[in-house]
Assembly symmetry: D2
Homo-oligomer: 373 residues x 4
C-alpha cells in the first residue's frame, strides 16, 4: 500500500488543480537501508525509522498511516496529539471502543481525519451515490454485495500476517467485508441489525519464512500453526431505512481474483458495479420505453463523470490506484480549505461497529443490533 | 404451466427415443368450454371438469398435477390411491408434514412420483453435477444463489393468487427460492441449518378483476387488501458437509426479469450459471496453466452435453421449456422401465423442509436446524 | 432440418392462433423404411419416396422444400406447376438466373412462396427492424456482421456434402454468409457493390463413409479429395443508401460454435445482436441522459416483444427453433388469408445475387455492382 | 498526450527497476506562459518555446515527439541529427517515403528510435504475442479487428485539427486504424495486400473557435468547411502467411467510446481483446477437455503476466496510461543498455505503408500490394 499512497501523493497536483502543493516530505520504515531505498524509488525527501519522530516533524502537516492494522490506534492518537492531520488506512481500529478513542483524540486536537475507503472514489460509485440522492433509483429495497478472492485457497499457502488475528484483527470480514460494508453505508445508509456465519476452512497453515507481496514463502517442512481468523464470512441484515442487506466476504472463491461487486435494487431502477471492471457501471432505468428496458453498461470515463475528465479521453480506462488519487485529492482540498473530510474516522468507526456486530452475532448465534455496540 | 407441460409431453417422442409412447389422453379444467378449447389447442384427446374423474380414468397411467399449490396434497394423495404415477408441480406441499403424508400415500400404492424441479434438467446443471461428483471442483466451500424478479414491483400490481398465502402458500421464497434451494441440494447436498429475513415491501395491493398471464387487471378504484406473503426473503446457512450457503429470493429486483443464478466455489474450481442464459455455463478450472486461468463460457449445446444432442447443432440455443421436456422424458423412462425417479417427492419434501426452517427462523429470529422439522 | 421444420409445423397451432389448422400430411424420403420411421417420430400422417408424388398429392396445399441445395430449383418449379404454395430452405438457388426461373414459375402459377431466412423472425431482429423503420437509430452508417463457426477446423474432418460444391453450391459464404446478407438487407436495405476475398485453408480432406449430424466418419486410410468450396469469405461493400457493409463468414474461427452476430450504427443509436444469445438485444440510445449512456442488454422475452408473449413469462428463454415456428406461422397466415409472404423468393434471389457478386469479385479481384447481375 | 507522456516518465523509476534514472529535463510549447504552467504541473525542470532549442540542449539525451502529426518528420530528422534518441508519437509520417527519410536520418546518426504504439504494451497483448510465438494458437487463419469511436458523430461537431488533412494527415484510418494495423502486424505478421472503402458521412462542419480536449467549440453561426479526411475506413486483405485480415476504423459507431477490439483465430485456439477492458483477455483453447471448451476471461493482472506484477495485487485494475509507462520503460532500458528498440521507426514505416496501400486501393478501387510502395 505504500506504493499506492506514494503514487497518489505524486499525482494529485499533476492531474488535479489542488489548492495545496503536496510535498512528499518524509517516509518511515523500520529498516534504515530499506526505507532509504523506498524513499528514492517512491520520491520522498527524507526518511525516519521511528514513526513517532516522523509524526513529530515540524515540516510535516499530514500523516499517512499505512502500517499493519494493530498499530493504527496508537499511531493515530499520537499524530492527533502532535496536531497532524491524518489519513489512515482501513480498518481504523479493532473495536468500536478503540475507534471512539481515536475520534476523541482527533476531535480534541482539531485535526482533519480521513479513512482510506478509496472505493468510494471510483467514479462509478460517485455516479451511483448521485443517482440515489436524486431519487433516480426510487426507494431502495436491496443491497447485495460480496468481495470474493482466492489467493489463500491452497492449504499450503502460509500463515502470513493477514491470517494472524493479533496483527490483522480479522480475516475476510475485516480485510474484504469492510469495503463492502462501507459502500453499503455510503450508498444506502446506516445498518440496523445483522446476523452472520463464518468459516475457517483450512484450520492450520505452514509458518512462512518471509513475505512476497500478499503471499509468503514456507518451506516444505515448515511447522504448521492454527489459523485464528475467518476464511469466509456471510451475513444478512436490515438497513435503518428498511432495505435488506446481504454481504459475503471470502478468500475461498476460486477464480475470483478481486471480485468486489454489488447490486442495489430500488423501486425505479437498479445498479450493478464490480471493482474488476472499475470503469463500468450497469444501470437499469425502469423509466425507459417499454420493450427497450435493460441493464445498460455505462463506461464511466467521460468528462461529465466525477474525476474521469482529469485523466484520459472517453473510453480510455483508468485503474485501481486512481481511486486513491481521488480520495487523497479530496483530503488535500479539505485540509487546504479547512473543509469537512469524508469519509472520516466516524465512518471508520461505524464500519468497525457493523463488523463487531457481525462477529458478535456469530459468537452468540443471534441477531445483533448495530447500535447496541 | 399447462402449456409448458403439454408441450413437453408432445416433444418426448419427437426428440427422444423413449421406451414408451406418450399419449395426451385427457386434460381437466373447471370450465367445460375453456378446457375444450385448451384440449384442442394443446393436443389432448379428452377433457374432464372434475379432477377426480380424470385421476380415476382407466386409460390413464400418469397424472400430471399442475393446479394451484394448495390443491397439490389432495390431488396427489387421490391419484396415488388410484394407482397412478404422479408428476407434480412444485411445491409438493405447504408443510413438511403434508409432504410426508403424500409420500406415504405414494409409497403405500407403489406409484412412481416425480416433482417438477425442471431446472435440474438444464444441460448446464447436469454438467455441473457431473463435475462435482467426479471431484473436478474439489471440496465445496460456497453456494451463493439468488432468484431475482421484478414483475410485482409496482405498488399498483394487483393482489393476484400468487400474493395470497391461502392459495400460494408462500411468496418469493416458495415460488422462487424453492428452485434455488433444490439446485443447492442437488449440487452440494443437504442443508443443516438456516437463518433468514424477509420483507413485504408493499403492504397492500388492489384486488384484481381477472388474471392475464402472471399479472392481472385491477381497476383504479379497486379495493386494496393486505398482502400476506413475502416480497423478498434472504437467508444464510450451512450444508451438512460444511459448505456455506447464501440464498436470496425477491420480486423486487428492478430489471431482473427472471434472474435465477448461482455460483459454487470449490477447492479446485468454480462454476456459475444463470437461467436467463440457459445454454451457458461458466467454469473456472484452477488446474489451467498459470497465467491462463479464468472463467470460461461454455456453450452447453454440443452432442457431448447431456440432452443437448437431441436438439440442434452446436451453438444453436434451446430454451426454458426444454428443461421440462428433459425431465418428463426421464419420468417416462422411469415409468416405462420401472426405475427410480429423480427428483421425487422426497426431494420435494426436503425442499419444503428447508423453506419451513427458513420461515421458522424468521418468525423466531433464531437459527433453525433443518432436521428438527 | 427436417426435425426443425416438423417441430415448427407441430407448434403453430399450439402456440399461435393461426387462421388455418396445420396438418402434417406427408413426408418424403428416399428410403421407405427410413421415411416411415421419421414419419412416426416427427408426426406425419403419410410417407412418400418420390418427391414428385408428394408434390402432386391432392390433399397437400403446401410443399416444404428441405432437400440438399442442388435440388431446390427443380423441386420448387415442379411444386409451383402443381399449384402448391412453397416454403423453401435457403439458398433458393445456385445462381441469380436460376432463382429468377423459380420466381417466374411461382408467379405464373400464382402460388405463395417463402424462403427460410428464419433469423428474421428472432424477436430481437423484429425489434431492430421496427427501431430502424421508426427512425430510432437515425441515419444508418454501418453494418458489420459475421457468422463464425469452427466445426470443420480439424484437417481430418471429412469432405461431407457441405464441402462439395456440386451438392452445396458454396462453402462458408452460401451456408453462413447468406444469413448475414439477408439480415443486412432486411434491416439496412439493398446492397450496391461488393468486393471480397476467400480462402480454402484445408485443401484436401478424407472422404467420409457416412454422415452423423453435420459431421461424418472417415476411416484413417480414407482417400483424400480436394475441397472445392470456401472455408472463409470476407467482404466489404456499400448499401444503396450509402451505409458501409462488412461481412465475414468462416468455419475456421476456433471456439465460435455458431456465432452469427452483427452491429448496426446509426446517427442516433446502435444495436448489437448475436444468435447464440438469441433472447438478448443490445441497444445504445444516444438520447439517454448525458453520463448515463451505454449499451443496454434487453431481454427480448416480454409480452410487448414480437412473438415472445406466445411462449413463456418474461425472462424465460426461447431458442433457435422458435424462429422457424414464427416464420412458418406467418407463412400459414399468408396462405390462409391470401396475403403477401415475406421473405419470399425475391428476397432469396437478391441474397443469391449478392453472393454471386461476391464470388465474381473474388474471381476478378475487382469491385462488382450487385445490380449488374 | 503531453500529460500521458509526462506521467509515464514520472512512473518509470517508481514502478520499475530501470537501468537509468529518468529526469524530466525540459518541455517545449509555443506559448511561454502556457508551457511554464505545464512544466510546473507535469514536473519538468525547464521550458523551451522553440523545439529546435530543446532538441539541441546538451543536457538532453532523449527527445519525445508529441506534436501534431505534420511536424513529426521535421522534428525527428532534426533530433536525429542532434544525436538524440527519439520517442515519437504515431504516425511516424504521412507517407512511406517520408518515413524512410526519417529512418535514414536516425540510422545515419546511430540514435535509438521508438514509436508510440503503446497498445503493444498492454499485458494482454504481450500474452497473446507469447501464445502465438509458442504455437499455442497453431496456424493463424483470421485477424479481425476494429477501432470504433463516436465522438464526432454529431454534424455540429466542429472541424478540429483531427479533421484537417493538412495537420492530421488522415482521419479514422490514421488515427484509429493505425493502432489496429500495428497490432495485426505485431501479432500475426506482415501484410501482403489490401483493398478498402472509406466514407466521409458529414461533408461539412463548422469551424471551431478553440479546442477543449479532443473536441472544440463552434458558435452557432460558425462558417462551415469541407471535411477532407475519412470518417470511416474499412478494408480486407491477406497477410504474407496466408491469414485473412479484416479491419475497420470509424468515428461513427454510436455508443462505442473507444472500442479497439480484435479477435485472432488459429487452428488450436483463439483470442479476443478489447482496449476498454484492458485488463482482460479472452482465450479459447481447443485442447481443453471435450464439453468444457469455451472462451475464458483471463484477468491479466497477476505477477506472472508481463508488467502486471509491477503494479497492484491480482485483480486490481490498471488503465490506459500504464501501456505507455511500459513502453517508455522498455525504451529507457534500450537506451541505457544499448539494446534494440521495439517497435521502432521501421514498424512506424510499415504501418504507414499499409495505410498508404489502403488509401491507394480506395482511390483506384483496386487491390494494392503493400510491398509495391
Amino acid at each position: 500500500m505504500g506504493k499506492a499512497h506514494s503514487n497518489a501523493y505524486s499525482k494529485v497536483n499533476m492531474f488535479f488543480d489542488a489548492d495545496a502543493h503536496v510535498v512528499r516530505k518524509a517516509i518511515c520504515g523500520r529498516d534504515a537501508s530499506g526505507v532509504s531505498q523506498a524513499a528514492k524509488k517512491l520520491g520522498w525527501e527524507h526518511t525516519e525509522t521511528d514513526w513517532r519522530k516522523l509524526a513529530s516533524r515540524g515540516d510535516v502537516d499530514v500523516v499517512d498511516i499505512n502500517a499493519p492494522s494493530y498499530l493504527h490506534k496508537e499511531m493515530a492518537i499520537f499524530a492527533a496529539n502532535e496536531g497532524k492531520h491524518i489519513f489512515c488506512e482501513k480498518p481504523l481500529a479493532f473495536s468500536t471502543a478503540d475507534a471512539r478513542e481515536i475520534i476523541d483524540a482527533a476531535n480534541k486536537n482539531g485535526v482533519k481525519h480521513q479513512i482510506a475507503f478509496n472505493f468510494r472514489f471510483a467514479p462509478a460509485v460517485r455516479v451511483i451515490r448521485a443517482m440515489i440522492e436524486s431519487g433516480r433509483l426510487g426507494e431502495i429495497y436491496h443491497f447485495r454485495g460480496h468481495y470474493l478472492q482466492d489467493f489463500i485457497i491452497s492449504p499450503d499457502f502460509p500463515k502470513v500476517w493477514r491470517l494472524d488475528k493479533t496483527v490483522a484483527g480479522s480475516g475476510s470480514l475485516g480485510d474484504l467485508g469492510a469495503h463492502v460494508i462501507d459502500l453499503a453505508r455510503y450508498l444506502v445508509g446506516d445498518v440496523k441489525s445483522v446476523i452472520g456465519i463464518s468459516k475457517t476452512f483450512i484450520k492450520e497453515r505452514p509458518l512462512p519464512e518471509g513475505m512476497t507481496g500478499l503471499s509468503g514463502v514456507a518451506s516444505k517442512d515448515a511447522p504448521r500453526e492454527a489459523v485464528d481468523v475467518d476464511d469466509a464470512t456471510s451475513f444478512i441484515g436490515e438497513f435503518e431505512n428498511g432495505a435488506l442487506l446481504q454481504i459475503e466476504a471470502t478468500r475461498f472463491a476460486a477464480g475470483n481474483r478481486n471480485n468486489l461487486s454489488f447490486e442495489i435494487n430500488g423501486s425505479l431502477g437498479s445498479v450493478r458495479f464490480g471493482i474488476e471492471r472499475i470503469c463500468e457501471l450497469e444501470y437499469y432505468d425502469a423509466a425507459c420505453d417499454a420493450g427497450l428496458q435493460g441493464f445498460s453498461t455505462i463506461t464511466v470515463t467521460e468528462d461529465i463523470h466525477p474525476y474521469a475528465g482529469h485523466w484520459w479521453p472517453a473510453g480510455h480506462a483508468y485503474g485501481y490506484e486512481h481511486t486513491l488519487v481521488h480520495e487523497i485529492y479530496e483530503f488535500v482540498q479539505s485540509v487546504a480549505n479547512n473543509n469537512p473530510t469524508s469519509p472520516n474516522f466516524v465512518d471508520g468507526m461505524k464500519c468497525t461497529q457493523i463488523m463487531e456486530a457481525v462477529d458478535l452475532s456469530i459468537e452468540r448465534r443471534a441477531w445483533v443490533d448495530v447500535n447496541s455496540l
